[in-house]
Structure formats: structure tokens, C-alpha cells
Symmetry: C2
Subunit: 537 residues, 2 copies
């Protein structure tokens, strides 16, 4: 869907018309990517740095050097079309996130994730839109109309899932990771609906019927996007299970998985759905079914190949954003009124902080009401980390801003130029400052020595994971039966469903999965025996 957002977007006029330019640019860019990986590796133990920030700094330095050597004409190696970002760079990142996500955590917190991603994004959108409408007037920024303010709300409500993946660690803080990243994925669907709404409805006079339409279109978008991803994932599992019986070919299996994952994304784009949601769920289904139907070599290959592609794509984005930030053309207009630009950036940054706080804390409170045991609840320190870790704005915000505030490839209108540079400032500042501080913030608030409620919550996670033992990925059949017999009483009544809805849903899902899904689509323990299959070694 992101694609149709940037449909009318700027073509910055790719430099590829000349001959030597693209090749030397690509050479330098690839060399810089290698440098980022090496330096990122060397700085791995550093408490401040991570790969994104390294890439961002290298990008900034390179941009500065290019700016000097071209005597201020350009800071770019090449000009990157946002369409390319949505078509080629984003899919591997989101697919890999779905493929490697801890499904148990994700589904256990499903309702909270929806709450944060849908209601939360709406709250943030309203606060940023109304806030900027009020505060920008004080700066004498008067060239924006209502639509622009609403667009600003949508742009700065789009959390950056990519950044989240970089600053939070799935192993160390699984609950936080699943909440913040899951929210980011759902957030995309919400942003799409909001952006479409801004373009289609007259939101300045909102009525209850428009609100209902908005809600309906969100539910429709969420459901269809998810279904498409699940369907493509299941088709891939079925094809590989049926067709490849008796003889396997690792190259074909891997190629088919890559191509079908990409197919789910691009089909979702085609049908104007949320491609991020689709490919995310396709990744979940593929790791639950398809991945178990292929040979051992294919499993190792896909696991690491998807992670590598995602890794390269992430570094690519940050390196590019770093270079892009110094683009002289965007700053030209700002120099005439630097105060306005700094003011606008500060206001937007403040609104991002407030807008996120305004939904994280109340919604966490609501979410905690549904959680029975004390250990399940989201503690205040954890709420602070969730709030902080989702503050970063990244490539998605950039793309949306370009879509809204440019329409000829150049930021000619001074007002638009200020909006673009403010977006860059917020993206850079939030990524660098918030990103740099996240590792330390987590260490201070949730120390590994497991004081107070951190240890309780982690213990609870452990206990919970044993007693629930939802075999969505990691847990085999053995534990499932053991647990099913020993610990959980069979939920036999409606009362059970009402008192522990998540557990009950999972229980029936597991029964359904074992009885119908896995025999048809394969999966752990249900892979047919393949005689003479060329296993690893």
C-alpha cells in the first residue's frame, strides 16, 4: 500500500542518464555497505552504537565529503526513488521480522498490539494534527491548510519498525520487542487508512458516519491484508509439500519461498492493501508450515538468507538517509528562515513525544486491566521503554513526507521545503539521539540483574511459556501433550473462554492446527518422510 501512497511522488530525476555515474556510485555505495558491516562488527560491544547509527554516521560523513568535492552541488551518490524503497528494500525487512518473530509472544499479546497499533496511532494522529495546527500559528507558519496538518499527523504517527528491530533485542526483552514491533506493523495499516481518509474524506467536518466508514475500512484492510498473507503462505507450504514429495531440490525450494514471499507483498500492493501486514503474516505462516516441509539445507539457507537480506536492506536505508540528510537543495530555502525550521522541528518532535505518551500509558493501563496475574501486567518502567523505543521516525516518515510535500521533484515552495527539512531533522534526531540512548535506557530501567518487577515479569514469561506451551513454532509435540495432560484443565465451558480468552483461543487453535492444518500443509512433526532426500551432509 505504501506504494500507492507515493504514487504521485517525486522522481528526483535519476542520474542514470549519464554513463559512468551509476557505476561509480554503486561501487562506492557497495564499498560503504561493506565498511558499515565491518565497523558495526567492531563496535558491537560498544554500549552506545548499533549498526543503524554507524551506517547513519558513515552516510553523513560521505554526504559531507561529496558535498565538499562537488562544491556544494550534491550530497548524494545516487538519487533513490521512494517507490524503489517500498518495492525492493522494505519487503525483506518485514518478511524476515515475521519469519523470525517469536510467534508465541506475538499472539499472546495480540490484543494489546492491536490496541497500541490502531487506537494508539489514532490518538497520536489527533494530538499531532491538532497540536501542530495550534502551535504552528505562533511561528507564523501560515501556508499550510487543514489537509497538510492532518498529513503531518499521519506522517509523524508512523513509527519505524526497522529502527525498532535495531534497538530492541528479541532475546533480551521479548515482551517489549513483540509489543513495540507488533505495534509498528499494525501501525502501518492504520497509517494507510488515515492517509486514504485524508485524501478521500473531508476530515475537517467529521461525522459519526465518516467515523464508521473509517473504522470499517480499517477492519476490512486489516482482515484482507492478513488473509492474503496467510493464504500465500499456506499455498507455498502446500505446493512444496505436495510437489516435492520424493525428490527435493534446495535451490528450487529456496527460490520458491523467496518468490512467493515477495509475491504476497506485491499482490498486496496491487490490491491496495497493507503490504507490510501481508508480508509479515506470510512470514509467520511460512515459518510455521513451509519451513518444516523443506530439506535441512533449505532450512539453514532460508533462515540465514532472509536474515542477511534484511540486514543489508536495513544498513542500506540508514546509509542512504545519512547521505540524504545533507542534500543541499532541501536546505536552500530553509536558510532564509532558519528560526521557523528549527521551531517547526522542535514542535513536531515535542508532539511526537507527547502523542506517544498520550496513548502508551492510558492504553497500558487498560491492557493491564484484562491481565489477571500481577506478573503479566506491563510495569511502569516497561511502559517507559515502550514509549521511548517507538519514538524513532524513519524511512517511512520520510517517504510519506515526500509524498505530501513535494510534487515536482524539487522542493520549490518554501513552506514545503520547511516541512521536508523538519521531517529530516526529526528523523535524524530521533534515530540518533533516541536510538543511541535506548540500549542504556533499557539497561538502567530493566537491568539484567533482574531487580524488582523485571525479574517477576521474566519469571512470569518463563512460567507462562511453560504452562501455555503454544507450539506455534519452537515447541514440539512432546511438550504439548505433556502440558495438555498435566497442567491446564481442559476448558470445557464458555466460562473458561470468558475468564482466560487468550489461553482458550490458543487451545482450540492448537487442536485445529494438529487435526487439520498440519496434516494438509505440513509443519513440525507432520513433514512426510522423504526417502533418499538429500539432507545436510
Amino acid at each position: 500500500m505504501g506504494l500507492s501512497l507515493v504514487s504521485t511522488v517525486v522522481r528526483w530525476g535519476l542520474k542514470s542518464g549519464t554513463d559512468a555515474a551509476p557505476v561509480d556510485s554503486i561501487t562506492l555505495f557497495v564499498a560503504l555497505l561493506c565498511a558499515c558491516i565491518l565497523i558495526g562488527h567492531l563496535l558491537e560491544k560498544n554500549r552506545w552504537m548499533n549498526e543503524s547509527i554507524t551506517a547513519l554516521f558513515i552516510g553523513l560523513c560521505t554526504g559531507f565529503i561529496i558535498l565538499l568535492t562537488t562544491k556544494g552541488r550534491s550530497s548524494h551518490l545516487f538519487l533513490f526513488n521512494e517507490e524503489l524503497f517500498f518495492i525492493y528494500v522494505l519487503p525483506p525487512i518485514i518478511f524476515n521480522a515475521g519469519f523470525q518473530v517469536k510467534k508465541k509472544q506475538f499472539f499472546r499479546n495480540f490484543m494489546t498490539i492491536i490496541l497500541f497499533g490502531a487506537v494508539g496511532t489514532l490518538i497520536s494522529f489527533i494530538i499531532i494534527s491538532l497540536g501542530s495546527m495550534q502551535l504552528f500559528k505562533k511561528l507564523n507558519i501560515d501556508f499550510l491548510d487543514t489537509m497538510d496538518y492532518l498529513a503531518l499527523g499521519a506522517i509523524f504517527s508512523a513509527t519505524d519498525s526497522v529502527c525498532t528491530l535495531q534497538v530492541l533485542n528479541q532475546e533480551e526483552t521479548p515482551l517489549l520487542y513483540s509489543l513495540v514491533f507488533g505495534e509498528g506493523v499494525v501501525n502501518d495499516a492504520t497509517s494507510v487508512v488515515l492517509f486514504n481518509a485524508i485524501q478521500r474524506f473531508d476530515l475537517s467536518h467529521i461525522t459519526s458516519s465518516i467515523a464508521m466508514q473509517l473504522f470499517g475500512s480499517f477492519v476490512y484492510l486489516f482482515a484482507t491484508s492478513t488473509l492474503l498473507g496467510v493464504a500465500v503462505g499456506l499455498v507455498s507450504a502446500y505446493i512444496i509439500k505436495k510437489l516435492y514429495f520424493g525428490r527435493h531440490s534446495t535451490d528450487r525450494e529456496v527460490a520458491l519461498m523467496i518468490l512467493m514471499a515477495y509475491l504476497s507483498y506485491i499482490m498486496s500492493e496491487l490490491f491496495n492493501l497493507s503490504a507490510i501486514l501481508t508480508v509479515f503474516f506470510c512470514g509467520i505462516v511460512m515459518s510455521h508450515y513451509t519451513w518444516h516441509n523443506v530439506t535441512e539445507s533449505s532450512r539453514v539457507t532460508t533462515k540465514h538468507a532472509f536474515a542477511t537480506l534484511s540486514f543489508i536492506a536495513e544498513i542500506f536505508i540508514f546509509l542512504y538517509v545519512g547521505m540524504d540528510a545533507l542534500d543541499i537543495e532541501k536546505w536552500k530555502f530553509v536558510s532564509k528562515s532558519p528560526g521557523k525550521s528549527v521551531g517547526a522541528s522542535s514542535i513536531l518532535l515535542g508532539l511526537v513525544l507527547v502523542g506517544r505518551a498520550a496513548f502508551i500509558f492510558p492504553l497500558s493501563f487498560i491492557s493491564n486491566l484484562t491481565r489477571k496475574s500481577q506478573s503479566d501486567k506491563i510495569g511502569l518502567k516497561q511502559q517507559v521503554v515502550i514509549w521511548w523505543a517507538g519514538l524513532m521516525r524513519g524511512a517511512v516518515s520520510m517517504a510519506l513526507a515526500y509524498n505530501q510535500f513535494t510534487n515536482s521533484g524539487h522542493t520549490q515552495l518554501p513552506g514545503n521545503a520547511i516541512m521536508i527539512t523538519s521531517t529530516i531533522s526529526v528523523v535524524l534526531f530521533s534515530t540518533v539521539v533516541f536510538g543511541l540512548a535506548t540500549k542504556n535506557l533499557i539497561r538502567v530501567l530493566l537491568p539484567k540483574t533482574h531487580s524488582s518487577n523485571a525479574v517477576i515479569s521474566e519469571l512470569a514469561d518463563l512460567v507462562d511459556s511453560k504452562s501455555l506451551a503454544l507450539p506455534l513454532l519452537g515447541d514440539g509435540k512432546d511438550r504439548e501433550s505433556e502440558v495438555g495432560g498435566d497442567k491446564i484443565p481442559r476448558p470445557t465451558s464458555l466460562r473458561m473462554l470468558l475468564s482466560t480468552p487468550t489461553r482458550t483461543v490458543h487451545y482450540y487453535w492448537r487442536k485445529f492446527d494438529d487435526a487439520i492444518m498440519r496434516p494438509v500443509f505440513g509443519g513440525r512433526g507432520f513433514t512426510p518422510y522423504i526417502p533418499g532426500s538429500p539432507d545436510l551432509r
Copy 2:
């Protein structure tokens, strides 16, 4: 280098200006790729088909359907820039070929490969150029000048390495594979020199000094391209060996290998070298050193990920060529004089057949003179297969033809249109007819029941591989020492070098490799022990 060949090339005017077009095209194209893989898998046992021809047929059918639905306006899903072909699609194919090539076979036949690739291509070039010059006059095709005829010679001397990989099997016919594919790689360097020569020198009045210059530039190109590939490969081995000591990260290792392989290709393009040669040798060095320095998971991942990327790229090319063949614009002018087009295609096809025969048989005779044992010699039947398997012309010829005969994106000049359509005809005919027949030809000429010299040659291969035991990839230290002690007498004199030059060179290379190269760059048996390295399971 291919890139600078197509520097002035046609931009067919990418359709991506419109919004929905690229997404639905990409969707259909990805779906077709999946279909090609599935159908190719189902037809695997079929004696006529292979994946290329399946993809070609699916491409033709799709092109036909698009032609019908657009009422004859277009047969394309999207228009593909040859520059993109050289920058993105070709590198994985050639790199993977180098990475997976049986290095022993390749280096054992090194001199024959150079003979075929350099001298052979030159002979073929001369025959096709002079032949078309004479024969086209009889068709009243008089709009071509000397340059065009020379270009035709270069275009139709470029064998298609990609097709070769598809029709010959490295496992079944290792000697033929290494000769034909190796020739295809060297052939690229020769084509580059010839094409440059056509553009720079006045070849209609060739003198001995120009000939010397040509020879010199070939040697320079070959040496520098190879050295660059080797250098990048060694740097990657060194970096991974040194930096990753103590802690490995599969994603980083794989990413670094992919990026550095690509870096070698794009650097070679940048320096106007033969990028195909460079990335081929980079692949060889990486599989000999770098691959042994990474974790077990990285090894499995790289092996299959490179093969998969190459596999997808190959299917991509054939699918595209199939669709491209029906492009209505190219055939528009031809309809006015169909006789000329058919005549020109037939002449060119005949010249390709004759030109290849004119160097395969004499050069095989010469090569056989240097081979001492009867079993080592290239038999007549094998020569026929080598001749036949290198007849296919593919995407490279297409790209060169577009470069020479179009200069505005449209084939407006009738003469140029005929040349383009003739190229398409030759490419399609040679790929489909020669490609279809190759599997059967090999079965008839070199049956698996191992009659006559096929069995001798395969036995010889076996004995030879034991007695030589060059551990360039497959053979470990154990066999090496065992063999070194038992079977080969130590070559102590110059006479040894003269009588068995290849063996002697290999013997000393092996000593050098063990004493200096492997301790520095890693490699089998020389990988440092990494405590706690996260190995595969």
C-alpha cells in the same frame, strides 16, 4: 565491461511513469517465475525440456496473450534496460558459476580454454564478419557499412555462458562443461576487446601494429580482470579470517561475501575491465579461501543462496527474452520485406555454425597434440558436442545488437530493424532448437553406458583426479599427502616441467598454497579454531 558496451543504449522508455503499471507487471512476472520453477520441476525428467526452454515458452505464451489483450500494441510486461541486465542479473549467474565450478577440471584444461576462448572467438569473428559481408550483398542488403559487419561478427561470436550452464551438466560431463563454460567466460574478454577495437581502430585496414595493439590490450584486459577478482576474493578471505576471530555472525559473514563479490563485479565495470572474468575468478578464490573461514551455517547458506540467486536470474532472463521476442515494434518494419529478414537470419545462423566448427575442430586437434595419453585427448564425438553446445546465442548477443543497431530507443531505420529481428530469430532458434536437442545429442554421442572413448575418458578423469589430487577445492589434506607420497614422483628437474607442464605447475602451486596462501588467507584445514563459535547445531 559489458556495461560500457551498452552505454549509449536505448532506453526503451520505461513504463514506470504510470502508477499501477509496474506493480501489476511485477506481480504477474513474479507469478510467472514461480510457474516456471514449478513446471520446470515437473518436467525435470523430460528428455527434451529444461528450465530455460520452459521459461522461454512461458514467456512466448505470455507475450502472445499480452499482444492479444492489448490488441497488438505491446508484448511486454515491462521494458527492461540492458544496463540493468549487466548490473543486476548477470553477476549472480557468473559468480555462482565460479563459486561452484570444479576448479580442478577448469585449471587442468586452462590452456585449451584460453585457446578456444581467445583464438577461437577471433576465428569465429573473422568468418562471420567476412561471410556476412559477402552473402548479404546477394540479398540486396546494402545499408550496412564495414563497421556494422564487424559488429555482427562480434555479436554472433559471443557464446552464451548462461545457456551453456543450462544444457551441460557439470556432474555428467565435467570435461565438456569446463571447456564450453570456460570458453564462454574467456570469450567475454575477447568480445570486449573486439568491440572496443571496432569502435577505436580502423579495422578495415588492419596492420601488424594494430594487431599487436589488439593482442596487447587483450592480454592486459585478461590479466587485470583476473587479478582484480583474485584480489577482492583474497581481501574478503583475509577480512573474515582476521576480524571474525573469536566471534562469528552468520548474517554478517554472508552479507560481506555477497557484497564483496558484487563489489568485484562493479569495480571491474568501473575500470572498464571484463566484469564477467573478474567476478568469475572472485568466485573461485572465495570458494577456495573465504568459504572455509566462515561458520558451518554460513557455508550452507552461501552455497545454496548463491545457487538460488543464479537460478532465479537465469529464469528471469529466459522469461524476459521469450516475452521480448514478440515485441511488435521490432517486427513492424520487417513485414515489408520478410524475405530479407528470413534470409539474413538464415545466413547468420549458418555462419554461426560454420564459424564455430572452423575453430573447434582445428583447435581441438592442436590441443590434443599437447595431451600425452590417449585418454586425455578430446575425442571426435566430444568435439561435436563442444561445437554444438556452444552454438546458442543469448541475452549477451541481444544486448550487443541493441547497442549497435539502435540509438533512439526505436528501431526506426529499416536496416537496423532487420538486424534486430534477425538477432532475435537467431537467439530464439539457437536456444530452442539447439537447446532442445543438446540433451539428446549428448545421450546419443556420449551414452551413459560408457561405450568406447566415453568410458575411457571418464576412467581417465577418475585416475587423473586421484593421481593429481589438486586440492583446489574438493580434496582434503589427507588425500593430498597420501597421494603426494605414494604416486607422483617428485618433479625435480626442468625436464619434468617440460614433459608434464600442467601437473608440475599444479604441484608447485599446491606447495605455495600450503606454505604461504592458506596460512594467511585461511582455507580448508587452515581455519583457525574458534572457541564457542556458533556452529550448525
